[in-house]
Symmetry: C2
Subunit: 143 residues, 2 copies
């Protein structure tokens, strides 16, 4: 347990480890109601701080090289319900309350909408909203 100090109440001062992935943490988003895994994103230290500050999930977009509050375009924000880190402190699991019918910019409840069946990837989900209606001019980039 490097860089951890534990007291008698199991409270640890843990520094998250942003070093293993070039300044980023892998972040798993799970629906607090259904337990479904909705997406994986990445946070740098600033995105993590903004998430704590606002109570809503803020990612770092690798493709746009900037912070990105999930749902800023679609309105489908992700409210933090609880947050865990792992034994290596280089990943986060965030349980969220969703504010819309789906998180995926292609109109699905979950970004994980393609299931492997007989060596193919099958679109296994129904669309829950129309991405063209929701994103109109500006397409929200997922990562």
């Amino acid at each position: 347990m490097n860089n951890e100090v534990m007291n008698s109440e199991n409270v640890m001062q843990v520094d998250l480890d942003f070093g293993k992935l070039d300044g980023l943490l892998a972040v798993v988003i799970q629906d607090a109601m259904t337990q479904r895994v909705l997406m994986v994103g990445f946070m740098n230290a600033e995105a993590y701080a903004r998430t704590l500050e606002t109570g809503f999930v803020v990612f770092f977009s690798r493709s746009r090289n900037k912070l990105w509050m999930k749902g800023e375009t679609s309105g489908h924000k992700l409210q933090v319900v609880s947050m865990s880190t792992d034994c290596d402190r280089d990943a986060l699991l965030i349980s969220v309350k969703t504010a819309g019918p789906g998180v995926c910019h292609e109109g699905f409840e979950s970004c994980f909408s393609r299931t492997r069946v007989n060596n193919n990837w099958i679109v296994s989900d129904p669309q829950t909203f129309s991405p063209t209606d929701v994103y109109s001019d500006t397409k929200e980039v997922v990562k």
Copy 2:
């Protein structure tokens, strides 16, 4: 939907995108029975192929720079139940049947055993096995 070809049966020929993370995919492991997220690991193309071939989760260990079948030391292998990819094809969600009381090398059911409470990280889980008994001489490296 770049690099995807969809036919009338929603079958897509999808190439997973190993390019966005230096040859790796982020892989979320979820317990098929409980829906609990157990861990996050990484796969390169070879680890992915070995996972498909064996039916058990094989990661690429970044710290050891080699393939690593999860549970090869502890016996706590992860049998693939189903597998999904996301809209960017750069992450996997694998639903697994577990073969032991926990996946974490620190003796917990899930690697995500630290929950954020009042600005601290609290060990929120009980240990489900003794890591010193399970790993004896060789410590299985988690990532």
